[in-house]
Amino acid sequence: MKARVTISLKNGVLDPQGKAIEHALHGLGFDGVNDVRQGKIIELDLGDIAKENAASEVERMCTQLLANTVIENYSIELLD
């Protein structure tokens, strides 16, 4: 079982890297871009774990280490 965790800054938290990307895209002529938020993806290989356990396990990983819930949101995707 593999899992993919996507972490992004919460709305309302300033994202200077996102702003810089947006600025650069505008500079390249992509004027249609209204907003850019960047984040990170963490891929986990969980070995032989049952799917129902995997979700809660990764959830715990997110709250304890992978994401800082003061500033970040996370979403979990389980991949077979």
Binding site: L9, G12, V13, L14, P16, Q17, A20, Q64, L65, L66, N68, V70, I71
Partner: protein, 221 residues
């Protein structure tokens, strides 16, 4: 007074912190490795600057989950003084000892220079030689010193006198122009509610910091 300095893989101001404490207290602090599970008897715990675990994942996140930090959090809740500087500030917010979080500087660059800080609160443990309203000059050296707190937390920080320092100019003016890194309300350092934990993003270093430390001797009294 006894002091202990926590050392993580990637800490790089641990020696600076040791020297500063030695100069202030007249004797060396104990150096405590991150993998240790017990602290020696101590009145002050210092969490130094640097790049613990390379600042990978998030600054301070991996260090915040290291074995020794569980002990530090426990001691802090029992009233032991904790001084968290720079990367230590990030570690402290990651453990939840202090509210808020530190983000990448608004200009996205590492900033190393001297800044003026306004002393915002009086505190019975720390900064004894500073008085509310003073302006002090400290060096900063950080990439992720941009302090963030949500609306509710901000109100609490202001309301309970938890803001220690704000980025200012030499005359103590606090405004957008003196905000070097995008921190909410120009916040450079905060206390916890009880006032026994001080975290500071204006780490400072060499001579200036040592000079600063002399000014802060009461920290260790």
């Amino acid at each position: 007074m006894k002091a202990a300095v926590i050392v993580f893989p990637g800490s790089n101001c641990d020696r600076d912190m040791k020297v500063a404490i030695e100069q202030s207290l007249g004797h060396a602090p104990s150096m405590v490795w991150h993998a240790d599970t017990e602290l020696p008897p101590t009145d002050l715990i210092a969490i130094p600057g640097g790049f613990s675990y390379g600042d990978y994942l998030r600054c301070g996140a991996i260090a915040g989950n290291s074995p020794i930090m569980r002990e530090v959090v426990k001691k802090a809740s029992q009233g032991t003084l904790v001084l968290a500087v720079c990367n230590g500030f990030q570690v402290a917010t990651e453990t939840g000892m202090l509210p808020g979080a530190l983000l990448r500087n608004a200009n996205q660059k590492f900033i190393c220079k001297d800044v003026d800080l306004k002393v915002v609160s009086d505190n019975k443990y720390f900064a004894g030689s500073f008085t509310k309203g003073d302006t002090v000059r400290f060096p900063v050296a950080h990439h992720d010193g941009n302090y963030f707190a949500d609306e509710e937390t901000r109100k609490r920080l202001h309301g309970e006198g938890m803001i220690a320092f704000q980025y200012a100019d030499a005359d103590g003016n606090v405004n957008a122009e003196t905000n070097i890194n995008g921190s909410v309300d120009n916040i450079a350092g905060i206390y916890n509610e009880k006032g026994n934990i001080l975290a500071d993003a204006a780490s400072g270093t060499p001579d200036k910091r040592r000079a600063g430390w002399h000014g802060r001797q009461s920290v260790f009294r």
